[in-house]
Amino acid sequence: MMGIIYSLNTMAVARFPKPDFTSGYEYPEIIHGVPNELFWNVMDIVLLIAMMGLVVWAAYKKRGRSIILSMSVVSVLYFGFFRSGCVCSVGSIQNVVMATVDSDYNLPLYVLLLFLLPIIFALLFGRVFCSGVCPLGALQELVNVRNFRLSRAVSATLSMIPWGYLAFTILYAATRSQFLICRLDPFIGIFRLGGDIGVMSFGILLLIMSIFIGRPFCQFLCPYGALLSVFSSLSWKKLEITNKGCINCSLCGVACPVDAIRPPQSSKMKEERKRGVKRIILFAILLPVLTFTGAVLVGSQSDALSLAHKDVYLYEMLLRQEANPELDEPLEVETFNALGGNMEELKAKVDGIRSDYEFYSYFAGAFIGFVIGFKLLKLSLKRGRKTYEIDMARCTMCGKCFNYCPQNLKTSK
């Protein structure tokens, strides 16, 4: 690997003088195209608002699935295939995190709106964005035919994954290491008709799964969905399956692909009140314990995690090279040496990154622990219901239950 010449010129070196043309030659004018991003960004935001508005109208006023389904088609075609999926609301979490920690990063207003608008809609009406506006959700919605129900325990456990995913996403974005969501986006390869083969096959596997299970990505992976579910559970309006009075026929519960419809249950406890209270106190103690344990567990791994940062990895590579000089130099090491990189400077930089990592991994671990503890606490609470009700945190507003409800089919006179 010898003899690679890096001729890095900080100024344009003129080894050969500018030619004197005598034949009246003129320099050609080459125009390099710049797409009109501003126009498309405005278009994206307008469509985002319009489509979310339409879904709200379809779900709350019309109680029909057809509009939501056609929105899904529009979303997959426009946001997915035409705009090729980038930047999306799910990924915008990372830009927002980066803008919060890094004052040098210029957050485009458009990306901020992509992040905020679905949250605002979730606070008002629930997860409208997930319904038929998010191209990732819409793609799974369109292929879903059957829904085999996972057991409550399995689905509750799996639905912890998005929170862990979110914690690591924030960790990697805040340390400016990588955009985890973008790297692991399972469907972007399908929208672009090409990409990393591993991630693409995972995407295809997920898509095959979503034929049989309602929206596996939204339920068990999407970190933005997890974020929206919090705002959605506190939403201003609550979605009702019918406005003509529930007759407890249970059809809607069978139809729901994401298990978001809760059957009626009596508020009376089968167990003794004292035992229940004891359990809640136990979980309330467990919550800070889990938070602390999570922080210690993930925090202790911060050095290993920091290898995801390019500079830390380079530093490790340089150390390895120093120890075994007989090995072939990787391109990164070669470039670092050729550019006259300063090991001391790099070490100072790496130390800074590592201390950032330490802080954020403690935070990420504590966050994961807290979420698990909170979930346990929430699962141990029981609330009485007289009729079938929609769990706003889980409901992705596909609209399937509306068509199943016999009360909705009655013509109102």
């Binding site: 070196v13 003129a14 080894r15 003088p17 390099h32 501003l38 606070l123 990164e332």
Partner: protein, 181 residues
């Protein structure tokens, strides 16, 4: 109003407050038109390692070779056009630096030749750029063609670039051209 509803309303307002506060805080930071949307290569940092050709998410990379005519020496023996140590200066394929034949040249006047890049054929491998910066004026350089680029939220080549030459740039400076420097 019972306790449950009271708590719910309180947390709703809290959540709304949090959303509005983050929104407002970030809105003061957000730059409308000037926000950095595009990715671009700084030609003065680029080491022509060849990863632009292989690591772009597109099958044929969005990175293309650009030519700054005003920097070019219009030489007959061009380090970007011919491979090093060619025996004869003719356009036989074995003499060409470009693996796809994307560089064409036209005789202007004795002894000058004008070089043109056919972007349709260019794969962004940077072989010609390396030749030109090593032996010539450095008028050939790599740039991301913004018309082709998918503007990924995280650029896959920026991630693997050994010299950190790929950075976000604003709408108004979508290219870093050598002729205007």
């Amino acid at each position: 109003m019972d306790r449950r509803n009271f708590l719910r309303t309180c947390s709703s307002f809290l959540a709304g407050g949090v959303a509005l506060a983050t929104g407002g805080l970030l809105a003061t930071k957000a730059k409308g038109k000037e926000g950095d949307v595009f990715w671009q290569i700084d030609p003065y940092k680029c080491t022509q390692c060849g990863r632009c050709e292989t690591d772009c998410v597109l099958t044929v990379s969005a990175v293309k070779c650009f030519h700054a005519n005003r920097v070019c020496g219009y030489c007959d023996l061009c380090g970007g056009y011919y491979r090093p140590n060619v025996k004869e200066l003719n356009t036989a394929a074995e003499n060409m630096m470009c693996p796809t034949g994307a560089i064409t040249r036209e005789f202007v006047e004795e002894p000058y030749f004008e070089y043109t890049i056919n972007e349709e054929l260019c794969t962004g491998c940077g072989k010609c750029v390396k030749g030109c910066t090593s032996f010539g004026n450095g008028s050939l350089f790599l740039q991301i063609d913004q018309d082709i680029c998918q503007q990924c939220n995280e650029c896959a080549i920026a991630k693997v670039c050994p010299s950190d030459a790929i950075q976000r740039v604003s709408n108004d400076n979508a290219y870093k051209l050598k002729d205007h420097a």
